[in-house]
Symmetry: C2
């Protein structure tokens, strides 16, 4: 069996890798808890139709899909939102709003095999359903940023770039872009940082923008919010959205993330379903892909579940974040923390030693004991290399007197104590 | 999309079900931590061959298997041990032993559709690799029982029934069972509680045991360990294993689980690979299937990975345990615990309110705020029904003075305090 490897694009998590996964997962859960989100999960295997309905039949090329033994067309989940809509769709009408739900699923895509391209990853999904207020958008982004803060990153390491689909839409309409050409215009703006300026102008030309208006469209992407608003006097949609965004950024600042977010019209988000504020979080050095992305998708529940309810959310994967933490020296290293190794000096002390093990574990301490009695020197050596804080030795004398010898392995200091004193930390 | 359900045999975890899953998962992890186990995980999708090699080609009928877009025969993992052996097989030689590893995978089987029969479940796997001592067997069973204890169950609720493959094997050899017929004899013993006595005798007759010896074989299953040893004088294997088991039960008692375990020759374990002590944990009332089962499988690494290393482990699923916790009224109910809802009395107090939210969350409190300002009465009502402990109100006067009004929702009592005092618990 050693000849088998894991499948290409799938990770094994040995304890050292698992420690890093747990570090990220714990930060995700802790933030979700602090922000009052409730956890849910769905099956990793769903009906294939669920994904086709949301993303069209092309999605199938990217899926792990198959026909099961009952003849059902099924797929490993590539994203969580369809499951969220399926689970909430029928129930949301009777629930107090807004609903704050989160999940940390493993997701699967049959990606083309490339270096560093995985076919699975874990992703925090946080969604707020049933709320239109821009304060919910601010609270949602704050939660994503708080994950990074809890992990030790700062506003010097990362930045959330924020835009609003409605602004871009209104400005492009002013410039004469038609609804039919809107997707192409979005795509040009989305790629403005990567594509040469001439290509961008040419592509906008193809959808009917002359060179002057195409240049104006591109110049939108460098504006501050105030510049953008000032550049569109009399446009009521833009005035209203700009006011919303000012409330949004003020709320983010009050929530402690003023330095972490910036207005940036270049953020479009690939997915077609966003309807309002959208954001992506990047490392400031720009070395990595987006860490997290999301936004408002007010029409998805209506389209898929027939329930007209506003919603917003994000997906926050473990892979780019993991790279960033490693780069910054913030990744977890220890795969376990042992408080003590309890060593029975001889067979006659075993009962007392195991009772001590049980009492320490019962009080929440992480404790192991050698499975062979005797060789105390060897046991102490193993205790040291196990990373345990203490070696606790119990011989016939200690057993008779109800005490134990505690050796602090970092400095070799020894003391005699009782279990009670040890647990109380008084020795 | 609301028309789609989850696939048959797959569970959706709404927050209330997720709370129960988290309760079990937390107990699993907490015990694994206390017992010094390190967490690992593998991919949910593995090469089909991995499972065929361990269990033979018949296993394929029970799997979610398919050919992926790269032409690989793959399967959703039905159990964790093949992954464990794959991951450790090549590395175990260089690792300090014993290795204590645990995992909590979701596992998948294409079971025949029946009421209550699921096609997925979560399973705690704890394994000790590289240790022969019977004390490791005792420690392993103690960890499984400690999960139950941490969840509020007692020795009055559950019992671990323990046997040893070597005892049964030696006794059956004494009675004249050949190696070729051993599997059939095991199967008869395994079913002795369910099958009529005459059927058991007849099946043993078919493999050459006369009625007297067949009766003796069946009578083995009611013996205590001492009776069993006394019934086989001069059998060195049985004498040695009986001594080991006495050490095992004594160690279990020292570890606090003397009342939780009993010797029971009727425990055989279906899987062919067990080589020593085996156990299954049941509810004492006998209403449910086995809660947990495992034992020693010293030859599996040798057979599958070509590395001769002893090993033992168990699988502990979430479904039967979940039923037991519900039956005993011990299942978790709350899907989240909110410390406070912070209400800004008007727009001018929003900044102070959000700053308060940020400080409370930063100190680890679970806090939400209404996404619309105004309607304080409505906000307080929502706070009550959210299950939060406190409603915190901040108006212009409180904001100016740097204080907040705290209403304890359980009794309606109100007090004015600062964030510092609130966090210190001094008001």
């Amino acid at each position: 069996m050693s000849k088998h490897a894991s499948l290409p694009g799938f990770r094994d998590f040995h304890p050292e890798e698992m420690a890093r996964r747990t570090q990220v997962m714990s930060a995700w859960r802790e933030v979700a808890r602090r922000y009052g989100f409730e956890e849910y999960d769905g099956p990793p295997l769903e009906s294939l139709e669920l994904y086709i309905e949301k993303s069209g039949p092309e999605i199938v090329n990217q899926l792990f899909n198959f026909t099961d033994k009952g003849g059902r067309d099924v797929a490993l989940r590539p994203e969580m939102t369809p499951t969220l809509v399926r689970m909430l769709g029928t129930k949301i009408k009777g629930m107090p709003r807004p609903v704050r739900w989160y999940s940390t699923p493993q997701l699967f895509r049959y990606e083309k095999q490339q270096r560093g391209r995985l076919r699975e990853h874990f992703q925090l999904n946080m969604d707020i359903i049933g709320e239109e207020s821009v304060l919910s958008d601010a609270d949602l982004l704050a939660s994503a940023l708080d994950v990074l803060r809890i992990l030790g990153l700062t506003a010097a390491d990362v930045v959330a770039r924020v835009s609003d689909r409605r602004l871009l839409h209104a400005a492009l309409v002013e410039l004469g872009v038609t609804e039919e050409s809107m997707a192409i215009a979005y795509n040009v703006i989305d790629k403005v940082e990567r594509d040469p300026r001439e290509l961008c102008l040419a592509r906008l030309g193809e959808i009917g923008l002359d060179r002057d208006r195409a240049g104006k469209a591109l110049s939108l992407t460098d504006m501050t919010l105030d510049q953008f608003a000032a550049a569109h006097p009399g446009n009521e949609v833009i005035a209203k959205v700009a006011d919303d965004l000012r409330v949004y950024f003020a709320a983010l600042a009050s929530l402690g993330f003023g330095d972490w977010a910036t207005f940036d019209m270049k953020i479009v988000r690939g997915l077609a379903y966003y309807t309002g504020i959208v954001f992506e979080i990047f490392d400031r050095k720009g070395e990595l892909r987006a860490i997290c992305g999301g936004g408002r998708y007010d029409r998805l529940f209506s389209a898929l579940a027939g329930v007209d309810v506003p919603a917003l959310g994000f997906g926050f994967g473990d892979v780019v974040l993991g790279e960033l933490l490693k780069d910054r020296g913030l990744a977890a290293t220890a795969s376990r923390q042992l408080d003590a190794v309890v060593v029975a000096v001889d067979d006659s002390s075993r009962e007392a030693a195991l009772q001590t093990v049980a009492r320490l574990r019962g009080a929440g301490r992480a404790v192991i004991f050698p499975y062979r009695t005797g060789a105390v020197g060897k046991a102490l050596k193993a205790a040291s290399s196990s990373g345990a804080r203490d070696a606790i030795m119990i011989g016939p004398d200690e057993a008779a007197r109800g005490v134990m010898k505690v050796k602090r392995l970092a400095d070799g200091s020894e003391r005699e104590t009782t279990v009670e004193e040890y647990l109380a930390g008084t020795t």
